[in-house]
Assembly symmetry: C2
Homo-oligomer: 108 residues x 2
Amino acid sequence: MENQNAITKIKEAITRNNEVLDALADLYKVFADSTRVKILCALTQSEMCVGEISEFLDITQSAVSHQLRTLKASSLVKSQRKGKNIVYSLADEHVRTIIDCGMEHITE
Amino acid sequence: MENQNAITKIKEAITRNNEVLDALADLYKVFADSTRVKILCALTQSEMCVGEISEFLDITQSAVSHQLRTLKASSLVKSQRKGKNIVYSLADEHVRTIIDCGMEHITE
DNA sequence: AAAATATATGTTCATTTGTTCATATGTATT
DNA sequence: AATACATATGAACAAATGAACATATATTTT
């Protein structure tokens, strides 16, 4: 059973990396919502405060805030107070890469 | 209002690409489940039939079949009958790329 | 210190999603 | 053709999710 052996090895590898794969799925969960994707996409262009995002996505300020919280918890965005606003921006370049990565699959 | 103008342009860009961004979120939705990620991950190593996947993930054959259906609908896997089995494999290299992309963010 | 402004949080509700169970479909083997 | 085997499908149900509403918190401006 040559092939069976190969399958067993793969099974072991998956089991061994179980937590990492769970974390991977969790990361994609964050990108798996069009509101969040749009927020992230906007932030690749420029930092923005909550009100601005709320205004141009045409959803409640509350909804935006909740989503930003999710994004922040996943270390995808960071925030910084500027005057009376809290300005959000991308945490690092990974976000851009991940978005581009997905885009390639779509636009082919 | 220099910055306001920039925001307006971003808003327009997001609105213009609304469908694409929705599709992007939909794509990520497929990766946003640990069962599916594990299936995809396994398939990067070798093609497999439903029974094998079911066995090593330790979930119902039915559950696997349902998830494979989702994966196929998103053009991430393809299937082919071989004898009495139906063997699934990755549809293209994009899957590998997308997984690697996310991995980088996690393992840092 | 009070009022105004911006953001965050708690709760509720409707919707979506993943799994299991039962069963149907389809192919291979006898 | 009948049986066994592998996969797919449908229904039901529990859990997760995203949005809105109401309200709390925090900072700035007067």
